[in-house]
Amino acid sequence: MTAGAHDADARTPENGSAEGLDARLVVERGSFRLDVALSVAPGEVVALLGPNGAGKTTALRALAGLTPLTGGRLRLDGTALERTPPESRPVGVVFQDYLLFPHLTALDNVAFGPRCQGATRAEGRARAAEWLGRLGLAEHAGAKPRRLSGGQAQRVALARALATRPRLLLLDEPLAALDARTRLEVRAQLRRHLAEFEAVAVLVTHDPLDAMVLADRLVVVEDGRVVQEGTPSDIARHPRTDYIAQLVGLNLYRGEARGHTVRLGAGAGITTAEDLSGPVFVAFPPSAVTLHRDRPTGASARNLWRCEVAGLETHGDQIRADLGGELPLVADLTAVAAAELDLHPGATVWAAVKATQTHAYPV
């Protein structure tokens, strides 16, 4: 999928001659190879989303200069940065566990960057105080990091990164170190601060919700490669890999369409509402699946598969059933329904999905 396919990318100059980030990050380490192309316009927030070990953090470190590139290119506002050491790059980083210097106060942590850029102690502190004020931390300026709460430490880390006036802001799993309640609040704050940030912002996360709330555009990385990119809603509607489908909670299949029927390799078929031909994806949500103990006789559901329960887990206030058989799929049902069906691993059930609840789209 090329970068030009999305609205957000229309702002990115094709030649990479001017503003923003234009990079192809190649890092080879043993058998692992990262090869990710990334173009981000100023003011845009891009999330690198992917499972653990996909290479997201390596990509982030390569952008910061902490891991050397073994190939590719890295241009920021038209300047080549491949050979620039990290301390000379106009890049700010918010690390996953913040890495606030424990021996310095919040104020001196934030003043560290300006001081390294040549500001006097007084100038550095003035700038730091301004940033802390902007992030609502003025009263914590004198606190050492160990006395800050998780959310406060996260904002100090953001202030510290922003105080160097970076042209590229990198955030590594910015919400991963927070507990669930703080997370909700900090996510909203972070979204506001990122929206105000006028340069390029790239964040790395394995949490689809963080990515969808914080980013204008998602770049999904699996096994060192970009497998899909687009706006959050586009990716949520049209997942192209099992990983993304799982993330956004959809059953996803790839097959050959002929009219309203999609054949999935080994014989299983899905009847769809769309009339297509050629290779397609078919997706439907777990809530569209209804389960029956005996083969239903009515013709209301056009798709019917015999399945075996492989596993059950609670999912919010629902039960999510992992089903194997002709067609592996997940289904959501209420606890009452699960009890009535006497669901247990190994039980045989019939799974039905209405054609109108499926969604097919070309590969």
């Binding site: 910061a64 902490l66 990290p86 301390e87 000379s88 210097f101 021996h103 560290f112 960057g113 390294c116």
Partner: protein, 295 residues
């Protein structure tokens, strides 16, 4: 010569083990009733008690045989004060030298990958196990008036180190610095290098990151290493007498004075030993506090 040499080694040996044992106890939660306490087998208990007595009886003997009545007089003599003052000054100077060149060396070993790093680390550790007398001879070969470096020091700068107070500092630093380097390197390895990366992304050069981030973070380890080095330098005997000789008020440090006094005036030797024992106990107490607060 072997008797005082062994004595000083044993002293540093207990010094090094003392703090570590403290640490383990602090980490273990300080529980007194351990599962092992329900019955100690005799084949372990008897040698353990003999070992304990072996370490404690000589120190007790020193206290028992101390000429307590004439002690004030002995300790206020000019020779004792000269030797004590010289020992403190030289050990402190040797520690300062070790800090200035040893901490950067520890950083190099911990943070920079270069070919032969393992070999370099082994060489740094060698003076730890080298008999100090051999160190003294080696220093003479290097820095003596006809030594491979000493020749140049003498002809270019007119500097001669052997048999001078500066020579004492050199000998003590040679023996004591590895303690500091090993201690600081260990602390550096345990410290999270990502703080240095964070500093780099904020625009800090490697030196600035070291000075403003790494050094404050490893300060407790540096202090502990410095105390160990200082204690080792204070007790130094073999390398000092070989390289710097035994001249009162110039190179005669406390251990040398003890050894000399033992032949002419045993009571004075005991008195001097008591002073060194008191200093060692003070160092141990200081280290314990250091580790307790660092926890």
């Amino acid at each position: 010569m072997t008797f005082p040499g062994d004595g000083s080694d044993a002293a540093t040996g207990t010094l090094r083990r003392g703090p570590r044992r403290r640490r383990n106890r602090a980490g273990g939660g300080g529980g007194t009733a351990r599962p092992g306490g329900r019955g100690v087998p005799l084949p372990l208990l008897v040698p353990a008690l003999i070992g304990l007595a072996f370490l404690i009886v000589p120190l007790a003997a020193l206290l028992v045989r101390a000429p307590w009545r004439s002690l004030p007089e002995l300790l206020t003599s000019a020779e004792v004060w000269q030797a004590l003052r010289l020992s403190l000054v030289c050990a402190t100077a040797a520690t300062a030298v070790s800090l200035v060149i040893g901490v950067p060396l520890a950083w190099l070993l911990a943070r920079v990958e270069f070919p032969g790093r393992g070999l370099v680390r082994a060489l740094v550790t060698l003076p730890l196990v080298l008999p100090p007398v051999v160190g003294g001879v080696a220093l003479l070969m290097a820095l003596g008036r006809n030594g491979i470096v000493g020749t140049w020091l003498d002809s270019w700068f007119g500097v001669t180190l052997p048999f001078t107070t500066a020579g004492v500092v050199v000998a003590e630093a040679f023996v004591a610095m590895p303690f500091l380097v090993i201690s600081v390197e260990g602390t550096l390895r345990a410290a999270d290098p990502r703080y240095e990366e964070a500093a780099a992304t904020l625009g800090a050069s490697r030196f600035t990151a070291f000075r403003r981030v790494t050094l404050p973070l490893i300060a407790p380890g540096v202090a502990a290493g410095a105390v160990l080095a200082w204690a080792r330098a204070l007790g130094e005997f073999g390398a000092t007498i070989t390289f710097a000789g035994n001249f009162p008020d110039r190179t005669q440090t406390m251990p040398l004075a003890v050894y000399l006094a033992l032949q002419s005036d045993p009571e004075a030797a005991i008195a001097l030993s008591l002073v060194l024992l008191a200093v060692s106990v003070a160092v141990l107490a200081g280290l314990r506090d250091r580790w307790m607060t660092a926890r």
